[in-house]
């Protein structure tokens, strides 16, 4: 693994209108790693991802997010449109949130690809679908999102992100709306794709159990700050911050 930094969040503070959600967040991402950001609801983990994507509702008060050699929080919307998807992918929690529920996937794949001047490649889509455990790509592409289950939709959303070949993929609690078995299947498939493409992934989750299974590094967020960040084994085995200790103590165990 190369130790090249791909994304650098420096002293970032951001707010929705007046409510400050992120305060002085520092984070750097190495190329090819899998970073899990863990924290409770409202800790600012989703906001961090959305700030990187340039959500218009979030106002950056201070600091910057360096991608390549530019501060991507200051991109114009047309520049951002070119970066999002092809360089930085984003998948959100709601499995029905990636696509217009009423239009066939094939049209939406075409629109996605056309937006980046790429050709619609049915074979590549079929290949991605098969890695993601989606059978019969043709009939799936003809159908519409509202007809599909959450798990299927989330897999297709992952495929739609990977078809653009991003360097960095931001996943915002992508498994939390799915049932346990589907969630772990989707995570496994995502890891398989990661291995093939060497994409860097930031996965936001409130479940430290998932993070312990898949992450290279874990960052713990609490009240808008990253309170602890380090190698997975270190965070799991030797947590320093009180909140991390509490998180680990609260992981449910199976008891008979």
């Amino acid at each position: 693994m190369k130790e090249k930094t791909i994304l650098n969040v420096k002293d970032l503070s951001a707010a929705y209108e007046d409510a400050e959600v992120l305060s002085s967040v520092n984070l750097s991402l190495k190329k090819g790693e899998m970073l899990c950001i863990v924290g409770e609801s409202g800790s600012g983990k989703s906001t961090l991802l959305r700030t990187v994507c340039g959500d218009a509702q979030i106002k950056v008060k201070n600091g910057c997010v360096i991608y390549g050699d530019r501060d991507i929080t200051k991109l114009k919307s047309c520049e951002r449109q070119k970066v999002l998807g092809t360089k930085i992918g984003y998948i959100q929690q709601n499995p029905w949130g990636a696509f217009n529920p009423l239009r066939p996937y094939s049209i939406q794949f075409r629109e996605t690809l056309k937006s980046h001047k790429k050709k619609y490649d049915a074979e590549k889509i079929a290949e991605l679908f098969s890695i993601l455990g989606l059978k019969d790509p043709e009939s799936i592409l003809k159908s519409r999102p509202y007809e599909m289950s959450g798990g299927m939709n989330q897999r297709i959303a992952i495929a739609a992100s990977f078809i653009l070949g991003p360097e960095l993929l931001l996943c915002d609690e992508i498994t939390s709306a799915l049932d346990v078995t589907t969630a772990s299947a989707v995570t496994d498939e995502l890891l398989k794709l990661k291995k093939e493409t060497e994409v860097t992934i930031v996965m936001v989750t409130h479940n430290i159990g998932i993070a312990a299974n898949i992450a290279d590094r874990i960052a713990i967020m609490y009240k808008g700050q990253i309170v602890e960040c380090g190698e997975r084994d270190k965070i799991i085995n030797a947590p320093e911050h009180e909140y991390t200790k509490r998180l680990l103590a609260d992981v449910p165990q199976l008891e008979y």
Binding site: C53, D55, S77, R80, Q81, K82, V83, L84, G85, T86, G89, Y90, I91, Q92, N94, W96, G97, A98, F99, N100, P101, L102, R103, Q108, E111, T112, K114, S115, H116, Y146, A157, A160, S161, L164, L170
Partner: protein, 307 residues
């Protein structure tokens, strides 16, 4: 499918029967005597004898329910009866008026839909920009002005001051412009506001964030949002059609456009019951059918809406 069509048809028939009965009751208890109106307008000296004879001839002396039953049966047979005013059959009168009203209503609907669709979508996309502010002011003002006021203002400027258009619309193309504008301006204001609100509302849906996250171009996003809003926009338009036909009564009277609205105004002052009843029935049918069609269209566009 066939079952739901039949169900809808039965529904329409029940609505129309109830509606016509209700209006028949209202006409029955309303003051004014058609026989007297007719005789006076013909310049005949009204005596009790003449009046009774005329009432007898028009069938006004029969009991209420018998009168309603006779009217209903003849309508079912396709006969709308003859006018109390001039003994001419009602159906051709209504047909001619309806054609003229449809020309007026359809032209103003098309004009205002194309305008408000463009303005509504554009101002939603450029929310809070200068264009959006201008559109919002325009739509607010246009929506607040009643159409009779607009028609009088238009008439004053374009027909009297500038003398470009005729004051009395003779049913030709040139005469159509002023009444169409009078109907279209307030409607455009209303539609623009509703379409803008609908598009803005749909812009907040999760899939828009998802598409932006993939860097999908804005025009595709707008296309998707507009496509999903169409069902709702059709419903707004369908609901407006009733108001449009009602509003055209006033406009047709002001510009003397020979439509069904003017016909019915004249018939009301002459207490010409068969024409009024025919008008109510036709308007009711149009309203119910258009709304049913918009329901069907809504469901076709968004199959998630269950039956």
């Amino acid at each position: 499918m066939i079952r739901s069509v039949l169900k809808k048809l039965a529904e329409i028939i029940i609505i129309l029967v109830v509606l016509s009965f209700f209006v028949f009751v209202l006409l029955y208890i309303a003051p004014g005597d058609p026989a007297e109106k007719r005789l006076t307008s013909q310049g005949i000296v009204v005596t009790k004898q003449v009046l009774d004879a005329e009432r007898e001839r028009l069938g006004l002396l029969k009991p209420f329910l018998v009168r309603y039953g006779e009217w209903l049966f003849s309508v079912i047979k396709g006969d709308f009866g003859v006018s109390f005013k001039d003994d001419m059959p009602v159906a051709p009168k209504l047909y001619k008026g309806l054609v003229n009203t449809c020309i007026l209503a359809f032209s103003s609907l098309m004009l205002s839909l194309s305008l408000s669709f463009t303005l509504g979508v554009a101002s939603a996309v450029k929310k809070d920009g200068i264009f959006d502010h201008i559109v919002r002011i325009f739509s607010f003002v246009a929506n607040s002005l009643p159409n009779f006021l607009i028609s009088v203002l238009l008439m004053y400027f374009f027909c009297i001051k500038l003398d470009i258009f005729p004051v009395i619309a003779a049913g030709d193309l040139q005469g159509l412009v002023m009444p169409v504008l009078s109907l279209a301006i307030p409607m455009t204001g209303r539609f623009t506001r509703q379409i803008r609100a609908e598009i803005l509302n749909r812009m907040n849906e999760d899939y828009v964030t998802g598409m932006k996250g993939r860097g999908v171009k804005n025009r595709y996003i707008i296309l998707n949002v507009v496509r999903n809003s169409l069902g709702h926009i059709f419903t707004i338009v369908a609901l407006q059609i009733g108001t449009l036909m009602g509003g055209s009564v006033v406009i047709e009277t002001i510009f003397r456009w020979p439509g069904i609205g003017k016909l019915v105004m004249d018939s009301i002052s002459a207490r010409d019951y068969p024409v009024i009843m025919g008008f109510v029935l036709i308007m009711g049918a149009i309203y119910v059918v258009v709304n049913s069609l918009s329901d069907v269209l809504d469901r076709t566009l968004d199959p998630r809406i269950s039956e």
